[in-house]
Subunit: 341 residues, 4 copies
């Protein structure tokens, strides 16, 4: 199994990354994709799917780790234990991870943990790293990211309203969040929460702070898991959560009051590359399915195989062009990010 | 509640149909749409959703019947008990039914029963009508339609392979079907099945027959319900079903051997109008939701309400144009069908 | 030659209009389309094309008139000499006129004369009608419409700046116009001009007036003819024109000061139907050309005729759908306009 | 003036090419774009435009040559006098050339001469190079490329029918061509012609030959210049040309009988990169014009500047994405070509 790299960026990928990429490709094709159906079955149906922790995932995590495929997402320089790949290099790997439902988590590269680990690695202090970053990087716990709110237009992050108020050695949180990704998983132990600590600051980009909230803190209520474009995403979960006088130690604040907007932007940048590349991997796999389908000799509508119908060949050609264009655009953006780091 | 009719076709709608249309509109808005959430809750989750028969639906059926809204789909002339609306007139009503998940069944106008009732009304003999059409028209039972097969390209109906072989006073069926709509409902008592009774006939449009198969006939196995574009559609169901030596009386054949293709084409014509108009109703409701959303005063991304963002107004305008164009195209086709009948 | 009418609107078309429509169709197919190439040749090239008055056009006008095809656009009720067709009926004729470059003018139904005649017929006084409407309706002269201006965003007609100032028994015009349609034709004798007579009126829709300006009034300078989407449209012409102290009798004002916006809106409504239907006719003819092309037995790329390539059949199908949808949308709008008149 | 290079490919561009690219950018912006209008005026209108040779072009050619911008298209290795740029490097330059109508010819990089020079440089013998390649590379003459034919589907080049028959020391050509690019220019002295020398060869890719035909050979008739998508392209010209017993020395054959398909494919490859990159340059310039337009403070439809209308900003964003994606796709293809050479 040897992964193809677009020729325009090939020389920018180190030999070490090329080898890791080939290992990822082989692991995804031979271990993860066959595990997808097992994973689905182990989740089950009905309410139990929110309490499941499919055993196959732990097997895959062990295998991934033994192959050296662990936390590849963490950019070099951000943390001492980073495997040291560039955004371009991990982007290429993320494409492969996107081909399988379980591959990202198997390599401890699943959102929102990746972004949350980046926040802690880049902006957290030593105590925060020891308590939360370490178990996340070990894959022992999972995390959720809480930014979006139901009552405001959260696509403009200046609008969020969750209150973060100082009260002695504590901060007290009041408000609500939804589409809180990761909140449904039974192993989710910690939330990275964005809110407003200084809502009247004249600078609208200095009103926000980011704070670490243990998932079991009193005052937190998870009301339901939302569907994603109408689809269920158990056991991951996008939660609707209310906070009522939720008290956390002041030491849980990340970087400092008023630094929230800056942290969130830093968090979202690499995430955009990761999501885009995983989606491209999913698109490649969809194209492979289409190719398999149109080559099925049993399917002969109107007297010829699907692959002999010109309209269908045009679908294939368009898909090929769109995927190739998207990949180059995203990888070019990844290189730009690498140069800015 | 007064339903709007495109001006171009208004004069073709009888006063009686206009009144019925207004009654449909009022019933959908005031009774059915509020019942949608109750229906969802009564279905439940997990396996039980395939055994549910939501009580709210029986309430709505009673109400619909008391309003005279029953079997409106059955074209005039096809059957003595038809309410006598044209395809144009019922098309306008179907648009309203499409706004609610429960409205079509509440008026006994839900697929695939509608098409199956048309087959029986138009092509069935008196015994077939007495036994199957009557309870279907009363809403006492439901039915499924079995045409598509997994192993062939069923979009070209000449390809289907289900065997229908004469054996004395019986026909014996062997083969498999999927996307068999309606097969999941616990009240589904009868299948309308298309298969091949004369696979070697030189005329590829004379090889097929349509036969009535009671759902409880030995040899039938339902393997699973398929999702529809990834969505669950319990309790309706699109089944994967195998037939192994399924014996039904020869009297169950509809119209005669070799008439299957003709029957199916006759069945699908009005169905295309119904599905299209229901979809247009759903699109109208989606547009209403979009309008409600963009007028929400709490949502102010980048300093202004959603309705003040030009890009979003363009979405509204395009949606308006697309829905209006689609409606006129479909209603024009309905009138053409009315004139051909 | 029998013109097809969409079934949904057929019953709204009078027998008289159906006969006229068939006459239009025959005239366009047998006389106008063959004349298109002659017309092009008679225009010539270089500067002379702006001084040409192709003889073929006068022949066609005589023929059209003898067939009773003259001024069909003028809505019933607007003027005593209107042939009395509805917007729907003329819309169907305009589709046929749109198939040929010369057909509209041959029937005295060419823009911008049509809109200008409507303005005079609907809003002009008797003296204005006698002097300008009469020769326009006889096809003896042509006219131009001057609204758009280079220095403002004219798509919002409130922005126009051409000054119309009272000076005793005269109005004096100063400013500039472009895309002034019809200004290139050597037979263009009169301009219908929109400008501002009361630029400081608190109501932005009462600042404008419409005034009749003879094309040979001193102070008018035509600078050049603009191309239309890069194409030359001689001898019709879209002119860039400046007005320097252009004096016209006060009696040339239409309807009254401050009525300009109202007049222009009244003028544009039917024009939108006419342009749209002519464009649909042009699209139908383009589709006919495509069909002729794909049936050319000499063109066999990759081993089969163009009509055997599925991708090309999809183009045909999409074209068919788009044209049919557009026609229904426009005709429905025409009926709406007929009911409002 | 410093040209921007997509970051993904930047490291593959030599310092020498980067300097040349900056020189091209400066030359196009400061000399060529201002010359475009002069060029248009010097062409004139009417028939004379086919006999024009705008003086401004010779001035620009002198300037380009003095800047070392000459024949940059000719790939390194193909010819001793090649400036030695890669396809990637020249592709980046071609983008700049595409911003101006005159820039490509000013640098002796205009189609179809570029492809014709490649044919001669790569496949021609020394005598052919001395006689035709040399004056082409010096910009002393121009050339045309004759492949497409009116009576067959030329998009499948196997279909062409022009006869090339051996007759002693001569080849005799009979047939017709159209869309023969470059044939209109008064300085066009030579045609590169593809035809069939062995129409019955069992291998459909060995039936063709390419031959050099002086433009003044007896038996050649140019019937007219075709428009391109309805636009005039004088003085370049896309001719409709017939060949009647056109005799050329056998020594004019390129590479050998039956090598025509191979030569043409080799010719078209780099041409696709060139055309695509020039088009991207034209698109960039169109986007600049759009930006200038939407920032015009005098244009304020509906109360705000064009740049404040969200719909228009979406056009800008989409244009930006489409151009960037296209550029990366084409440059990636250019690198692929460089590696294969």
């Amino acid at each position: 199994m040897s992964a193809q790299i677009p020729i325009a960026v090939r020389d920018r990928v180190s030999e070490r990354a090329k080898q890791a990429l080939d290992t990822v490709a082989k692991f995804v094709e031979e271990d993860c994709i066959p595990a997808d159906a097992v994973f689905e079955a182990q989740i089950g149906t009905g309410e139990q799917r929110w309490n499941s922790h499919p055993a196959i995932l732990e097997d895959l995590k062990k295998k991934a780790r033994s192959l050296g495929l662990w936390n590849m997402f963490l950019p070099k320089g951000h943390y001492k234990e980073s495997p040291g790949f560039t955004n371009l290099e991990y982007g290429l790997m993320a494409e492969w991870l996107g081909r399988s439902r379980v591959a990202s988590e198997a390599c401890n590269c699943a959102a929102p943990d990746t972004g949350n680990m980046e926040v802690l690695a880049k902006y957290g202090n030593e105590a925060q790293k020891a308590k939360w970053l370490k178990p996340l990087m070990e894959g022992e716990i999972r995390s959720a990211f809480l930014m979006t709110e139901p009552q405001v237009a959260s696509s403009d992050a200046r609008n969020i309203e969750m209150k973060i108020e100082k009260d002695g050695d504590y901060y007290v949180l009041n408000g609500q969040k939804w589409w809180s990704s990761g909140a449904g998983d039974p192993r989710c132990k910690v939330y990275i929460v964005m809110g407003k600590s200084d809502p009247n600051n004249a600078d609208p980009y200095r009103q926000q702070s980011v704070i670490i909230v243990p998932a079991d803190t009193p005052g937190i209520t998870i009301h339901r898991m939302l569907s994603v474009y109408g689809f269920d995403d158990a056991p991951h979960g996008h939660g609707h959560i209310t906070f009522k006088n939720v008290r956390v130690p002041a030491a849980n604040l990340v970087l400092g009051e008023g630094r929230g907007f800056e942290i969130i932007q830093g968090r979202l940048g690499p995430g955009r590359i990761h999501h885009a590349m995983r989606t491209i991997g999913a698109a490649e796999r969809a194209l492979e399915w289409m190719l398999a389908r149109i080559n099925d000799p049993r399917k002969t509508p109107f007297g010829k195989q699907l692959r002999e119908h010109g309209v269908i060949l045009e679908w294939v050609a368009r898909s090929r062009m769109e995927i190739d264009a998207a990949r180059l655009i995203v990888l070019n953006a990844a290189i730009k990010m690498d140069e800015q780091d």
